[in-house]
């Protein structure tokens, strides 16, 4: 690595290095968060870069790289076990799944044998861990652990253990003695002082043991045995530190381990301020002068003026800055060389560097990968630029730190050589800053570092300290030695024995090897495997409930075949939040049929609303629309529109003054503040104390001020228009294209006959007041926007006679007395907006009035159902009260939880509504309509799976990861969040960007993978699985759990990768039956298991059973 290829033999080699680095940076996409700027938040799999691996392996790999555990903490799983959300049977199934039939060679213990499964079960449930000496003392002295059973011992075990003994104290004491006997240990308890300070005598003894190793004490008066051991250990430590460079540490991390000083703390503000100024999308008035040239170039030109880089050493940094090459990749090469990072580690080193601020790296990576993103057109960014700046700052600060501490240049070789010569210092420093030293040693070490930061000046003191630390590591207080100890072996056996129900007699006969095997069995599962078992048990519990409900509901639901014409059909988004609304609507009027589909309703479009300056894509993120749809004023409304526009512009100007000018300016702002404050005070009071009324008033005022214009959609194009492509989108769809959309959508959801007079298409969106993560509550199928325009466009297309004629030619006859209507359901405040009612023929008005009245009732009931999960909602509210509460909640700008989003999602059902209709699923199901009887080959199902699979998995997995580790995979509490540059949230004014979901969104989420149940025959599913790579990845790797519901028999089977479909046998217990949903959930605030509803469908039950 010392040869510089760039100046060396050939220019090509330098090119190779550049390509290699570029590829390395390219590859970072797999490990960095893939979250878009927060205004465009769309749910995605947090570990998207690992999706090619099986779930368990992926989580293990991610943990290895980032240190983030991807499963619920064990205590949380145990809490769920205690709550009954996981039961013993689930755990048994998961353990059986892990170990298969192999229970290992059983260990004979007295009268019984114990296998690995039993031991692992104890380890999972009770966590039989070694204990620290001081906690052991506490257990013995305060908890009376040697005279009483462990407090977490189940009652039956307790009783069994007591059977053979006179008293509890005696039984426990005997057990403890047996444990000590097995390992040949004497019981002793360290005096509390010995725990914090190994006495001089003891240290002397430990050191003296090694005195004897000295060959010739006369030659070397001080202790050569110990000294050599210290040196050897130090060498190992140094080697480990150097080996970790790039793999686990950057130079910054290495120096933090050696000096306790984290240079990133000082670098971060400089780095973040500049990057944020480059990425900003509309907060700062003043931005870097050369921003159009890219991050690195702009920074390089500005940095010359940043005296914060100097810090006294002016000459050095200016020269270093001047030496930087033009291209960021060359700068990276130059600095990596300067720091002397071995070339074969560069890739890892850059990865490590990027992961030190994953939020910023991730956003920059996202911007770099979306060149078409609007902000990128003005200010391009690249990840290499960012890394170059980071490396340069690192270089300056590392140099300074090394000079100040040791007088060394900030280069790897210098550090290495120094610590080879000063082994005691290395040992003392690493031990101190790893935080493992007891207080008396840590204090001494700190004092020594304060007095002489280098071993060069007071070698004998450093040596003495290193030897002390070395001795401490071998004392019982450190619990580092290899032999059996009371705390590690006897205590664990003691606890394990109790939980296995073993008494002293059982243990006494145990050979040492057997006991060791027993303890090894306890450690057999690593944390990831334990997490996986808990997860499987958790999922198993829910799956059993879900399957039982589906099995017992088979044949009960209406509209499996539309023999009669439904009174109305309402097509909702597949969203889990719509499940309650659909259920309540059906309960209210069984003659209504509800359906579900991805909320863009097959119309992928660029949307331009009446007041919009540009277009917004409304479709899943993976699609780029080729068509534009515009909202236009209706004929004859031109003058109104003009007034609307004038007033709106006026309002926009006012808002600009309010939001931007009032903080941007100095003198004029102070006048503005004086003008605005008298108004602001009562408004603030109204917003806080009467949010609902204020919101209503505000709406009214807005309406009066800016009059609403009746609008229509411009969505048609002439048949001979030029073809529409994503690169050159066209305004409107041709008739044929419209017919395509309508036909394929209707076929997808299986609505090809039996059209009701009114078919309502309901998109959805969410409104909330003070919520940076607002887009996360909106429709995922519309790129995190409101889906109303899609519903409206679809309805308008389906109403056109020309389109209907074309569709009829293709075999779907939409009767003339059927009318489509577009609406939008607000999932936060439960309001429903209707579109294009002006076009509705008068004949449909009575039907519409009925339906609207029913929907009004249904949303109130749905609000009531939602309220049971809100802590601040009234307990057991009436539907009216509940509706008022959610309205107020949505309008309240102090509310950090306006709604709970997808927090309850757990499963998805692709199939007819009849499979789920009549059962309560607690808003946990994505419901996607699909009729297997119309799709014998599975072509339609294939399309649905391809669209809904990744979307459902994205939502579910984002919730999963944000829940299991909210601090690292999620973005923590909303409370300290601070919006940066309109693209993300930071904590305070200079932290990493936080990605993932905030804690307020996941509090009630049950972290498990999505159960994807398809109403289809296994063969059909297996064929699709074989054909589609993306499904093989998601399902085969266990990111989604697939199962099949037989369309005719209702038999269930679940897919196991490698085994195929396994028939489900379970659910013997009868599901509870409730009259209506409200009866089942009333008074409950926690998650509820499914129940069957004796809803008015019951009249049909007999018919369908007969059929």
């Amino acid at each position: 690595m010392d040869a510089l290829p760039g100046q060396g033999p050939s220019k090509a080699s330098h090119e190779d290095i550049r390509r290699y680095l570029q590829a390395a940076v390219e590859h970072l996409d797999h490990v960095l968060p893939g979250q878009a700027p927060i205004l465009n938040f769309v749910h995605h799999n947090t570990l998207h870069g690992y999706q090619h691996l099986p779930f368990a392996q992926a989580l293990e790999a991610a943990e290895k790289l980032t240190g983030i555990h991807g499963y619920l903490p064990e205590e949380e799983s145990r809490r769920l076990y205690a709550l009954g959300r996981i039961d013993g049977q689930d755990l048994d199934v998961a353990l059986a799944c892990k170990f298969g039939g192999h229970d290992g060679e059983p260990i004979r213990l007295g009268t019984r044998t114990v296998g690995r499964r039993e031991v692992s079960r104890v380890a999972l449930l009770f966590g039989v861990d070694s204990i620290e000496p001081n906690r052991f003392n506490w257990q013995v002295e305060e908890m009376d652990a040697l005279r009483r059973f462990q407090p977490d011992l189940p009652q039956d075990r307790r009783a069994a253990l007591l059977r053979g003994a006179d008293s509890e104290a005696e039984a426990v004491q005997a057990l403890w003695n047996a444990c000590l006997e097995v390992f040949g240990l004497a019981h002793y308890r360290l005096h509390p002082e010995e725990l914090v300070d190994i006495p001089m005598r003891e240290a002397g003894t430990i050191l003296a043991q090694f005195d004897t190793e000295a060959d010739n004490p006369l030659v070397c008066p001080v202790n050569p045995g110990v000294h050599q051991s210290v040196q050897a250990e130090s060498q190992v430590e140094l080697a480990a530190l150097l080996a970790a460079l790039g793999k686990r540490l950057t130079l910054r991390g290495m120096l933090a381990a050696l000096t306790g000083v984290d240079v990133l703390e000082q670098i971060r503000p400089l780095l973040i301020r500049f990057c944020a100024s480059q990425l900003d999308e509309g907060l700062a008035a003043w931005r870097a002068p050369d921003r159009a040239d890219g991050l690195y170039a702009a920074w390089k030109r500005c940095a010359a003026g940043d005296i914060a880089l100097g810090h006294g050493d002016q000459a050095g940094w200016r020269a270093a800055l001047a030496d930087l090459p033009e291209q960021s990749v060359d700068a990276v090469i130059a600095i990596l060389r300067h720091l002397e990072i071995p070339q074969n580690r560069w890739k890892d080193y850059l990865e490590r560097l990027a992961l030190e601020l994953p939020g910023w790296s991730g956003l920059i990576n996202w911007r770099a990968r979306h060149p078409e993103y609007a902000a990128n057109r003005q200010v391009p960014v690249s990840l290499m630029d960012y890394l170059a700046i980071r490396l340069f700052l690192d270089r300056l600060w590392i140099e300074r730190l090394c000079r100040e501490t040791w007088g060394l240049p900030g280069k790897l070789s210098a550090l290495k050589a120094y610590f080879e010569r000063n082994p005691s210092e290395l040992l003392a420093r690493t031990a101190l800053f790893a935080g493992e030293l007891p207080e008396y040693l840590a204090g001494t070490a700190r004092k020594l570092i304060g007095l002489s930061s280098s071993e060069r000046s007071q070698p004998e003191h450093w040596r003495a300290l290193a030897e002390m630390i070395w001795a401490w590591k071998r004392s019982p207080a450190a619990e580092k030695s290899a032999a059996h100890t009371v705390y590690r072996s006897a205590w664990r056996l003691f606890r394990l024995g109790q939980h296995l129900g073993l008494d002293a007699a059982d243990l006494r006969g145990l050979a040492l090897e057997e006991a060791e095997r027993l303890l090894r069995l306890l450690d057999e599962l690593n944390p990831c495997e334990k997490g996986q078992i808990w997860l499987q048990a958790y999922e198993h519990h829910y799956r059993e409930q879900l399957f039982a409900a589906l099995a017992q509901n088979h044949g009960r639901g209406r509209w499996a075949r539309r023999e009669a014409r439904p009174q109305a059909q309402v097509i909702f988004c597949m969203d889990d939040r719509e499940e309650s609304l659909r259920r309540h609507l059906e309960e209210l009027n069984p003659a209504i049929e509800t359906l579900g589909a991805a909320g863009f309703f097959g119309v992928a479009m660029n949307w331009r609303g009446l007041d919009d300056a540009g277009v917004t894509p409304l479709c899943p993120v993976v699609v780029t629309p080729a068509h534009e749809i515009r909202e236009q004023p209706r004929h004859g409304q031109e003058s109104l529109h003009e007034r609307h526009d004038r007033r709106r512009r006026w309002k926009a100007r006012l808002e600009r003054v309010l939001h931007q000018e009032v903080r941007r300016n100095l003198a004029t702002s102070s006048l503005l503040i004086g003008l605005l404050a008298p108004g602001a005070l009562p408004i603030l009071a109204a917003k806080l104390f009467f949010p609902r009324h204020w919101d209503a008033l505000k709406r009214k005022a807005a309406k009066a001020l800016v009059p609403l214009v009746p609008t229509r959609l411009a969505f048609s194009a002439a048949a001979d228009s030029q073809p529409a492509t994503p690169a050159r989108p066209r305004l409107g769809f041709t008739d044929a294209e419209q017919a395509d959309r309508v036909e394929s959508f209707l076929r997808n959801i299986g609505l090809t006959s039996g059209f009701a007079p009114l078919v309502v298409v309901a998109g959805h969106g969410s409104t909330s007041q003070n919520n940076p993560h607002r887009a996360a509550y909106d429709c995922g199928a519309c790129s995190g926007r409101h889906g109303g325009p899609n519903a409206r466009a679809f309805a308008a297309m389906a109403n056109r006679p020309a389109v209907r004629a074309l569709v009829a030619e293709r075999g779907i006859a939409i009767p003339a007395d059927t009318w489509f209507l577009g609406t939008e359901h607000n999932t936060c405040d439960e309001t429903i907006t209707w579109f294009d009612l002006d076009d509705l023929p008068a004949a449909f008005c009575p039907a519409l009035e009925t339906l609207r009245a029913e929907l009004r009732q249904a949303v109130a009931l749905s609000a009531q159902e939602r309220c049971r999960r809100f802590a601040s909602a009234p307990r057991q509210p009436s539907p009216r009260q509940a509706l008022r509460h959610v309205l107020g909640r949505a309008a309240d700008f102090s509310q950090a939880r306006p709604e709970l989003g997808h927090a309850t999602n757990a499963a998805a059902l692709i199939g007819r509504r009849s499979a789920t209709r009549g059962a309560f699923f607690d808003r946990r199901l994505f419901l996607i309509s699909y009729d297997p009887t119309q799709d014998p080959e599975g072509k339609i199902l294939e399309g649905i799976l391809l669209a809904a699979g990744p979307v459902g998995a994205g939502i579910n997995l984002e919730y999963y990861f944000s829940t299991v580790n909210n601090e690292r995979y999620g973005c923590g509490s909303k409370v300290p969040h601070n919006v940066a540059g309109l693209f993300g949230v930071m904590e305070g004014a200079g932290s990493d960007l936080r990605t993932g979901l905030p804690r307020q969104m996941i509090e009630i989420h049950e972290a498990m993978r999505l159960q994807l149940v398809c109403e289809a025959r296994e063969e059909v599913l297996a064929d699709i699985y074989r054909r589609q790579q993306i499904l093989r990845e998601l399902i085969g790797n266990g990111w989604l759990l697939l199962s099949a519901l037989h369309p005719d028999t209702g038999a269930l089977s679940y897919f196991e990768p490698g085994r195929g479909f396994v028939p489900w046998t379970g659910g013997q217990a009868k599901l509870p039956m409730a009259q209506r949903s409200a009866d089942w959930y009333a008074g409950h605030s926690a998650a509820l298991p499914p129940a069957l509803l004796r809803c008015p469908d019951h009249a049909l039950e007999a018919d369908s059973h007969a059929a």
């Binding site: 002068p289 040596r463 002390m468 931007q660 503040i673 601040s872 700008f893 004014a989």
Partner: protein, 512 residues
Amino acid sequence: MLLEGLALTPLPPLLAAACIGGGVLAGRIRGEAGEHISSRLALGAAGLALVQILALLVIKWLATLNSPLRLGTWLRSGGYHIDIEFSLDILSLPLAALFALLALMVLRFSVNYMHREAGFHRFFMVLSLFLGAMLLLTTAGNAALCFVGWELAGLSSYLLIAYHYDRPVAAANATRAFVTNRVGDAGFMLGLVLAFLWTGGIAWADINGASTRLQEWQAGVLACCFLLAATAKSALVPLAPWLARAMEGPTPSSAIFYGVGVIQAGVYLVLRLESLFTQAPAAMALMAGLGLATALYGFFCGLAQTDVKSALLFATTGQVGLMFFAAGLGFWQWAFWHLCAHAVLRGYQFLCAPALMHAVAGHPPRPVHPWLGRRRLLYMAALQRFWLEDLGDWLVVKPTQRLAADLNAFDRQIVEPAFGLPAPALALPGTAARPPSGDPEVLRVSGLAGLALRALANALHWFEEKLVLQGNGQNLAGLGRRLGARLNHIENLLNQPRFLVVFILATLLAVF
């Protein structure tokens, strides 16, 4: 009696804080179930305080209200006494009412916003404490009582910046803010002492009315002392950087502290001392200068800020700077009205900060003038906040730390052994530090006298050994060289600024 009761406006919030604190300690208020107790206590207390102030305002309007209202004596020593008195005049009452109202609103906001936060009760306790402090600060009738409120406000602001004390950044920033504020305290305390010495009392009336007794330079010095206090509290240049670090707390606390409360306290102090300042033209000029510098600092930095909280914060700094500027020019009334208006609007803006992005998306702010837009150096200066913090570090913090380290070393190596204190620091039983065998230490002494005796014995021994017995005196030259090197070293040390400063200070102390 009724009036006295009414005048005790800080009491309800302080009691609420004590109740919440006590309830949490006693385990009565705990977790989610106890949230409504904490929030009701805090809201009720704030409401009560507001009612009290409004009642006082009504009384003042309808009848006459003695100001200051004396309730008793706090301390008395010789001719000096500190009373418990409240000034209920047209400056303090409206401000107190405003603070109470805004605090009430922020508390209401926090009930939902802070729901299920681990520090919910702590938050409400500190917010109540803060409100009590602000009311005490504004209604105190003398500088000492005001100082108590001043300190309590500083303390509560420290506690809320460090609300997430598990995050090292938050804790460090809180400490930084706290320490910066102590600079202002020094000014306040000095002001108190000088006021006692020169005017004989510390009631506002004494300080303000002492103009006749004070010479201009005395008034100037006194005013400057209080100006220093205001500079730290209101984060004026050069003590501005702490404010930018204070954004670590939850959104509502940012609103109440930096939009509404603490930052305006400095303005209140100079408004309160209007008459004193009018007698000290130099102090007025200084105030105007600081105000202008701060306004420009806030303006330029604000233009370059890319996160919502910082952008609002620098806008605040700019406006507060303007208030000082106006006061410095003698527009006291304007400064007062601006203070009130600004508190309201900025509080509102901070509370709405999370939603600002949705309001401004697609409507970027007006860009700066192209001429300014091209200045790279100026841009970097604005982005890095004119390096005020680095300068502070470089000029004050680092030298102080080094000096402390030096003194510490001096303590350990010279003072402690000299006084025979146990020296546990590096006495390690490691083999390397063991005394070499064969040279047992016969004489064990401790304490100064013992050491002196031993040193004498050793010196005589050495003298005998080296000079008398060996007699050739060769070592003498080497000794001289070593001594010379040591002296050189000391001289070098003295050349370093920090020692020079200490040296000068020591000299000054000796002279006075």
